[in-house]
């Protein structure tokens, strides 16, 4: 009891002392809070806890946003892209080494040129190469200077966009948002807002980090390219051949080096443009006004979510565009970006919208919802003017979307059919089908078209898409792409389900994309027996193929020779008929079923030569021969002797 009295006395003294020495506002606030605590203990304690949480979140947000923008600002200024490698000992030492190797390669090149000139073999070419040799020998000593000049040029352009570094406007706006969250009395709304801001801070951090990684990778790759530049330049002296490419693979070969160097030099420019645009958007569009009584929570979150997401989407799209111009080496960074986006922005957007609207609990589903929401909105907005509605109003967007749905309904049947034909379902996924197609395109497509007619047509389209995918990704060389297209052509030609028009369309499309399938050349460069092995009679029945075999030894062999199969022979004649070409048919009519053709040709030819020689002998006895006739007779006699 005595102890309790002592304690109460102590508290009283502290309170009196606090009242005497503190300013009036503080005392007033204290008494007000003390009153609140006594009158509403639960509300006051929860508000205090919330305040602590908000302070922690604010600290985290401020830290990660500050860190990300610091790293990115550093990577796009002196520490990062400005490092052209001239001061780096690794670059200097490495370059000296490769210059020595390049000079040795040039000496070998000089010897080859000399031999060619002496022997008179491709002399003109050798002389041209000699000029190249002199230019290259000179330029090799200045590669760091030339490379540095180009890198500096691109950096100057980039700095024009991001010279001021990364704006901290997003960080400021986030902190404002958190302050407004502090003033909010609704616990659920405050929690959602905090979560929202935290997630967007993380997304922003990841995207900025990816850009930093890209710029740092650029610096290192450009250093490596500068180091190997003498060797790459030296390969300019050598003729373009696979053998030279084997000796100087990848970036050691001029064409590859040059392509990669330019890509990595320029990569900084689109990146800077997108960062700049994102900065502008952050300043212009981010909204974090506190929620008002009249506001609906979902609308409010959508509004601020969109204003935050837009600059980030811009940055992400810019990143992917930049990466796509970086070629094969940049692809892994792009892959990293995609993964990061899926793990942060997509998931976050989905989570928030899921919570706010349908209570969708799974993050993945939410991510999909975000995408769908954005896509549907964009489609509706784009289509609205066509149905006479305003694109910016919700009604307008809905009407536009409805119009698109009508059109989509009429074509979706076809798409579904394609899916059905490929038996895409639980067991057969697109990925599995794609992998199978890719494998067969590489290894030959003998058994590729093994389904129903509809399935085969769908598979033909899928294989074309696969080639297009490889072309776009740059994962295959033109030669490899052509090889795959040739494999597909042969397989499709052999299959009766694929129409001539579809094959010709595929060839035409490939040609416009730089993938050449010269089937005429292919056929003329293959022996008749090989053609019969590779092409089924069905292929020879196609008019456009048969036409190519008219007036060729292979075509003659297939039609006339006893060693040709009856099926191929008939198919080729059918193909000539199908070609509907009077010219092709006329040419084929000249020797169809000829007894003077391949099988009997040699004997008949000998008979002709003997007859001609006899005529010349008679003429010699009668009136003598001209010099030309004498030479002809000697040639014929030699032919018969052999």
């Amino acid at each position: 009891m005595f102890k309790v009295k002592k304690l109460l006395l102590l508290v009283l003294i502290v309170i009196i002392a606090f009242s005497c020495f503190s300013p009036f506002e503080a005392v007033s606030a204290f008494w007000s809070e003390a009153y609140d605590l006594i009158s509403d203990p639960v509300g006051t304690i929860s508000a205090a806890i919330m305040s602590v949480i908000i302070d922690i979140v604010a600290g985290i947000c401020e830290f990660i946003l500050g860190l990300a923008s610091q790293i990115l600002t550093w990577s796009i200024t002196a520490g990062g892209i400005d490092q052209t490698g001239r001061e780096s000992p690794a670059v200097t030492e490495g370059w000296n080494l490769t210059r020595g190797i390049a000079n040795s390669a040039l000496i070998i090149g000089l010897v080859i040129i000399a031999i060619n000139i002496i022997l008179g073999k491709e002399e003109e070419q050798a002389k041209k190469t000699l000029i190249n040799f002199v230019i290259v020998a000179l330029l090799i000593n200045f590669t760091p200077l030339i490379c540095g000049f180009l890198i500096e040029g691109a950096n100057i352009i980039a700095r024009g966009f991001v010279g001021e570094g990364i704006t901290n406007e997003m960080s400021n706006q986030f902190l404002d948002g958190l302050t407004s969250a502090k003033n909010n009395t609704n616990l659920l709304e405050t929690l959602i807002l905090i979560l929202f801001l935290l997630v967007f801070s993380i997304i922003s951090f990841v995207i900025h980090l990816l850009y930093s990684l890209l710029f740092l990778a650029r610096t290192v790759i450009l250093w490596i390219l500068i180091i190997v530049s003498p060797i790459a330049l030296a390969t300019k002296v050598f003729p373009k051949s696979n053998a030279v490419k084997k000796f100087f693979p990848s970036i050691l070969y001029w064409d590859d080096w040059y392509e990669m160097f330019l890509q990595w030099v320029i990569i900084v420019v689109p990146a800077a443009i997108f960062i700049h645009l994102s900065n502008v958007m952050i300043r212009a569009s981010i909204v974090t006004e506190p929620i008002e009584e009249s506001d609906n929570l979902v609308d409010y979150l959508m509004n601020i979510g969109f204003s935050f997401l837009l600059p980030l989407i811009f940055l992400y799209v810019g990143f992917m565009v930049t990466i796509s111009s970086g070629g094969k080496i940049a692809a892994p960074i792009g892959g990293l970006g995609k993964k990061a986006w899926a793990a942060t922005a997509g998931a976050a957007g989905g989570y928030v919208i899921g919570k706010a609207s349908a209570g969708v609990s799974k993050v993945a589903k939410g991510a999909k919802a975000t995408g769908t929401w954005a896509k549907e909105g964009a489609i509706g907005m784009a289509a609205a003017p066509f149905v006479g509605q305003k694109p910016w109003s919700k009604e307008g967007r809905d009407s536009g979307r409805a119009g698109v749905d009508k059109v989509k309904a009429s074509v979706s049947g076809l798409a579904e059919k394609g899916k059905d034909y490929l038996r895409i379902g639980e067991k057969n996924t697109w990925a599995k089908r794609s992998a199978e197609t890719e494998k067969q395109l590489k290894e030959g497509m003998d058994d590729y078209f093994d389904g129903t007619p509809e399935e085969n047509v769908a598979k033909f389209k899928m294989a074309q898409q696969q080639i297009e995918k490889a072309r776009r990704s740059g994962s295959l060389s033109k030669k490899e792409l052509s090889k795959q297209a040739e494999n597909l052509f042969v397989a499709a030609a052999n299959n009766g389900d694929i129409e001539d028009d579809a094959i010709l369309e595929f060839l035409e499309n490939s040609k416009t994309k730089g993938i050449e399938v010269d089937y005429g050349k292919m056929l003329r460069g293959t022996s008749a027996t090989e053609i019969m092995k590779k092409y089924k009679p069905k292929a020879l029945e196609r008019g456009f193929i048969a036409k190519e075999l008219v007036e060729t030894p292979q075509g003659e062999f297939i039609r006339q020779d006893r060693r040709s199969t009856q099926a191929h022979s008939v198919a080729l004649i059918k193909g000539i008929e199908n070609s509907k070409s009077t010219e092709a048919q006329s040419k084929a009519a000249l020797d169809i079923g000829s007894t003077l053709s391949p099988g009997d040709y040699k004997n008949n030819y000998e008979q002709i030569v003997i007859a001609k020689l006899d005529q010349l002998r008679e003429k010699e006895q009668r009136e003598g021969l001209t010099d030309k006739e004498k030479e002809q007779a000697a040639n014929m006699a030699e032919f018969l002797r052999k």
Binding site: G120, K121, Q566, I573, I576, T582, A589, L590, I592, G593
Partner: protein
């Protein structure tokens, strides 16, 4: 080896049509109208479904097609493997013509301007071309060796 030309194809087609030799190699869809050229008619009597069907059944075109039989005779003639005198007996043997008919057609062949020209024309394939010299006379090595 010399080969016939489009004019001779039409000429042989005309002989076939005049003597109604095409009956076994065409069907009712064959176009006899005046609008179609002789060359087109001849080609469509070679490249059609009836002929292809017969070939699919194992018949050799050289043994059943009147155009191919005629052309093979002309081929031998223009390549000096036979003479004009051989044409009539060969026509009799291949088509079962009467003596008179065979002589009539042989005469038509003999009088054909294009066939005559081809018989007289020299076969360019018989004159063997010289092997191309691969040494470039302008090369430094060549000049030094000279």
């Amino acid at each position: 080896m010399k080969k016939i030309n489009d004019n001779i194809i039409s000429f042989l087609g005309e002989i076939i049509l005049k003597n109604k030799l095409e009956k076994d190699v065409v069907d009712s869809s064959f176009d006899y109208s005046e609008k179609t050229t002789l060359l087109e008619k001849t080609l469509s009597m070679i490249f059609n479904d009836v002929v292809i069907k017969r070939m699919e059944n194992g018949e050799r075109i050289a043994q059943f097609h009147p155009f191919v039989k005629l052309r093979n005779i002309v081929d031998r003639l223009i390549n000096n493997l036979i003479t004009y005198e051989d044409v009539s007996p060969l026509l009799k043997e291949e088509f079962g013509f009467s003596e008179e008919k065979a002589k009539e057609i042989a005469l038509l062949i003999k009088e054909n301007k294009d066939i005559k020209e081809l018989i007289e024309k020299e076969d360019i394939e018989i004159a063997q071309p010289n092997i191309e010299k691969k040494v470039n006379p302008k090369s430094i090595g060549y000049q030094l060796l000279k």
